[in-house]
């Protein structure tokens, strides 16, 4: 794109929606020029509060996000929304349909919604997510709602990005033992039992409470909260927002803030380094073709996988 990075960043900060939206696309498409623009935006970030919404498919994540947008807009806050749906492993295509539940906000200039596909990423987010959140942050969004793909038990990346992580569940899914499994249940700052009019909501609440009491105390000292909602009828959502705000004030303690940032940036830096190193290696060996040549050498038995990998790395380091 023939725009200089400074000018591009300036437009985004001044509220040019198209400039922002195009940068997000270029980030997602891994265009080489984005890092220069992100560098310009970086000093304008760090203000937005990110709320992660995760849980199995069909529990009502998008509906809950839609209602949260409404409530936060009522408080005159600017809202960014990132919704993630899976990429087909076979065709690379995706149907991104989370917007359906929140389209009524699409003409509200205080709301910006962006759908992303996982594009092969495993942790419930896309590789581009943290950079795209940063663009929204620079756009001046006060709150960013981050809805992950419908997750199972192990997609927990959201916790490293979101200041508050909400796990959305519904009664009647899975047996008791699901609740004590490791993984997703360990990361929730807030547990939302949605569709709570259904049978089993109370039991589910007791089970989660028990699981939380049995578990070791959390390192950060926060006691996870449980909220029952029926998002579609706006039941329990006011309480949910109160709990989010409670967790937010907890997170905003300077010591806590520092801890969160240290952990988040550490992970992001490592991820970024890995990405850059991989790109450099692929550039050096000639991408697909070079990769195929190397693989052929391994198959033919001329060299083993480990020695080949060392050889490539050594060539790069010299």
């Amino acid at each position: 794109m023939g725009v200089n990075p400074k000018e591009w960043a300036k437009r985004i900060i001044e509220g040019d929606i198209r400039a922002a939206s195009r940068l997000m696309r270029d980030i997602d498409d891994r265009m080489p020029w984005v890092s220069e623009v992100l560098k310009e935006l970086y000093p304008h970030t760090g203000r937005a509060y990110v709320i992660g919404v995760t849980g199995s498919p069909g529990v009502g994540k998008s509906t809950l996000v839609d209602v949260l947008i409404e409530i936060f807009r009522g408080k005159k806050l600017e809202i960014g929304v990132v919704v993630i749906d899976p990429t087909s492993p076979f065709t690379g295509g995706a149907i991104l349909g989370d917007r359906i539940r929140m389209q009524r906000h699409s003409t509200d200039s205080g709301v910006f919604i962006r759908s992303l596909a996982t594009r092969g990423s495993m942790g419930g987010l896309s590789r581009s997510t943290s950079d795209i959140l940063r663009v929204m942050d620079a756009m001046g969004k006060d709150i960013i709602l981050l809805e992950t793909v419908g997750v199972g038990q192990d997609e927990v990346d959201v916790v490293n990005i979101a200041h508050t992580s909400m796990i959305v569940m519904i009664p009647g899914l899975g047996d008791d033992i699901q609740a004590i499994k490791a993984g997703i249940l360990e990361i929730g700052d807030i547990f939302v039992i949605n569709k709570c009019e259904r049978e089993g909501a109370e039991r589910m609440e007791r089970e989660i409470m028990m699981m939380l009491e049995l578990g070791a105390r959390r390192e950060d000292g926060w006691t996870p909260k449980i909220v029952k909602t029926e998002a579609i009828k706006r039941k329990g959502v006011k309480e949910l927002v109160e709990v989010i705000e409670e967790h937010r004030s907890f997170q905003e303690d300077p010591e806590r803030k520092k801890m969160f940032l240290q952990k988040a940036l550490r992970i992001e830096l490592i991820t970024h380094l890995k990405d850059q190193i991989t790109t450099r290696i692929l550039d050096a060996i000639g991408h697909e073709e070079g990769l195929s040549r190397a693989v052929d050498e391994i198959i033919s038995g001329r060299i083993d996988l480990y020695s080949k990998s060392e050889e490539i790395l050594n060539r790069l380091m010299c």
Binding site: M1, S21, R30, G92, G93, A94, L96, R99, Q103, S106
Partner: protein
Amino acid sequence: MGQKRKIRILVAKPGLDGHDRGAKIIARGFRDAGFEVIYTGLHQSPEQIVEAAIQEDVDVIGLSSLAGAHNHLFREVLRLLKERSADDIPVFGGGIIPDEDIPKLKEAGILEIFTPGTRVEDVVKWVEENIHPRG
């Protein structure tokens, strides 16, 4: 790293008609062709469609209409795109659209119109041949 961009496409149903089977089938066809399809559901106003297209940075908008209001709604989408300086995003349409309306819609700026009976593969092929994500 100059990898090929995926086509991002918005599939939208403007207006009041309540049938989205066709739109869903076409969305599925696009997905199977490797596109990223943003599907916004039924009863979309032209304003909602245009804002979604901008926020999602799509390469093209596909409008489906079965209820006869295409002349007004399709044109309104084009007008709003222009108003938002986003008229570089091309628009095509499909659905129950009388033959005599087609030339007029094309003249107004709708790139192509697909009528009932068109095979999904042909629509996919048309998109692949005519829509090119920016460099």
